[in-house]
Symmetry: C2
Subunit: 380 residues, 2 copies
């Protein structure tokens, strides 16, 4: 007889890395202390009013299912947006997803079998672990180093980890949680690895617009790797629209896209209002993002300068995104983050940060690097 | 060396059952023929204007992530809605999902291991197959019979199929695609089975309000089975809001709910605008649905009466939902549905229906029952 039990993947599923800290933040707020939430990538920049107005002014009589791949009108305008930034895709090569999360999960489902391995430069976005557990896939971390500013690990480090179960590499560029922006040379190295070993490259480019010097190179532009690359995207950060849950999966690989469409059909359609928002956002002026970029650059400059001015602190200068990971002279970043919430305040204010271990899969590195908290510059 | 291939689940994933018919429907439209889409559960009834207006009149400056379990204010009002229909749950026992689809998928992920079996009365909602493939779960169909109007199969039929891999039963009540509404006796039989064999009961109650005589009994009210039952719900049909993608998972089983929350955290939050719509809909007058119910009842009465007046046709009278499945004197329902689109028209109009085989997992039954198309009364 079977028993009423939780599934193995349910048990293995990681809880949110900041879960343990939430009660301390709530206590601090009850004591009247203002908590700056540097622990999450939730921008405080205004969602473009013109895009919000498109939702407000909708005249729909019936809120119907949309096409499972998303509205054709939205996909056409999104193709124009991609063309404007040098990514040459048609509307048929785009599938609208419920957030970037679903794009990543669909990539796992369509390309990887249970037991297959995916290599990810570490530290990495914690929820990749969650999607891997859901899909029964093994995450194989390839450590990057804070001394190099979290640059892409050398090709030889990847090759040491490639087995006959390795099916894909995931990158996030610019990177969440390190802010690192991959160089042209690093992107070409990645191209060589995936072509040599016939791997998929899942490229999470949620922070494309958030670069403070060099322009990020999309994996979609890697010549000869068109069949290997799946771009996962979202409007959450670009347009401060995290709550929309509006992402996209983009690929020139027809077989992958047809397979992903079957997964998309099972969940019927992506959210309707959010597609109106996303479509309107594609029509914003080309320089709309400049003010936002300057604001984030100012925050980065201030944060990194002040951190590095402190004794025993080292914070690499992130080339993109809105995160920074710093090495602090503390023994345990979780204890430190809890202390900030529980015992510390300055002018009745304190910070909530995300302890680094949540972004690591390698137990030893979690230990030695546990002094690093991650902070997000998405909010002031 | 690994190869760039599609995953096994990607290959096994069923395509939409009406996919093959879509080009014929498009051709018919291009010839100027009006196609009545009786193939999909997309209501043509107006989405409540007051709920749409709540979205239109939102004053959000930033469209932020909501809580992963959904806004607390929405969950509280949803708990009141459930109480008003006799389901006694608190806001902590509700998790807001991206459509009913996600609620079903999360139930699979949290409760079932790959290789586990779930028993489903057949015919059943085709996308259960898709979620099962995604979760690596085996669907074990227990055939219901058109002669009995698709009543719940006898307890002995279930018990013959229960193995040590059986972990759950899924019901959809009132049923998609048959419209059958389970009786109190059938619900008590289900309760006995799940308690005796220690199984989960996933109860899809998307069509709760769509009943034309007896009131559906929620699985949540089965005494003694509180830990076994997971209710999956959606506002898609109730409020003609399919495009919102707004559902809920409700259970008194704390361990299941805590596990589901981890899956919910990985995808960050359910859609934001849709939660505003859903919350506003909970405040509609209690009799709001009466007009809609009468409209659907009229459609059912007309459809069933006219079908049964035709020689060789048998259509059981559905007690709920807005679907009907009929036995027609044709050899192959897919051919028949294609013929309706390709060669038939009356006053320049035709019908699109969904062939029954898409709702069956048992190959023999697909064959012998291939003369049955399913039609939806959600649109005129």
């Amino acid at each position: 007889m079977s028993s009423l039990s939780i599934s193995q993947r349910g048990i293995e599923m990681p809880a949110s890395p900041i879960r343990k800290l939430v009660p301390f933040a709530e206590n601090a707020k009850q004591k009247g202390i203002h908590v700056y939430h540097l622990n999450i990538g939730q921008p405080d920049i205004e969602t473009p009013p013109a895009a919000m107005d498109a939702v407000r002014h909708n005249h729909m009589r019936v809120l119907e299912y949309t096409h499972s791949a998303g509205n054709e009108s939205y996909r056409q305008k999104l193709a124009l947006y991609y063309k404007s930034i040098g990514i040459d895709v048609s509307s048929e090569e785009i599938l609208i997803t419920t957030g970037g999360s679903e794009a990543i999960f669909f990539s796992f489902l369509a390309c990887l079998n249970p037991g297959d391995e995916v290599i990810i430069p570490e530290p990495f976005y914690a929820n990749y672990n969650g999607f891997a557990v859901e899909a029964g896939v093994s995450v194989v971390p390839v450590p990057s180093s804070i001394q190099d500013g979290f640059a892409l690990p050398p090709v030889s480090d990847f090759e040491k980890l490639i087995t006959d179960r390795t099916k894909a590499i995931i990158i996030c560029n610019p990177n969440n949680p390190t802010g690192y922006l991959y160089s042209p040379e690093e992107m070409h190295n990645l191209r060589d690895i995936i072509l040599k070993h016939n791997l998929y490259l899942f490229s999470d480019e949620a922070y494309r617009e958030f670069s403070y010097g060099d322009t990020p190179i999309s994996a979609m532009s890697l010549k000869g790797a068109e069949q290997n690359v799946i771009l996962t995207d979202t409007i959450s950060k670009r347009y401060s629209a995290c709550g929309a849950r509006m992402g996209a999966l983009v690929t020139k690989n027809k077989e992958v896209l047809e397979t992903v469409l079957k997964f998309a059909q099972a969940r019927l359609s992506p959210p309707g209002f959010a597609q109106i928002l996303g479509e309107a956002a594609t029509e914003l002026p080309a320089d709309y993002f400049e003010g936002t970029r300057q604001e984030y650059k100012n925050r980065r400059d201030a944060l990194v300068r002040r951190l590095n001015a402190m004794e025993g602190v080292f914070c690499p200068n992130p080339g993109g995104a809105f995160y920074a990971m710093a090495s602090l002279p503390v023994a345990d970043s979780e204890d430190f983050c809890r202390w900030l919430l529980e015992d510390f305040s300055y002018n009745n204010q304190t910070l909530m940060m995300a302890p680094a271990p949540g972004f690591y899969a390698t137990p030893d590195l979690v230990k030695t690097r546990s002094g690093w908290p991650m902070c997000s510059m998405s909010r002031r």
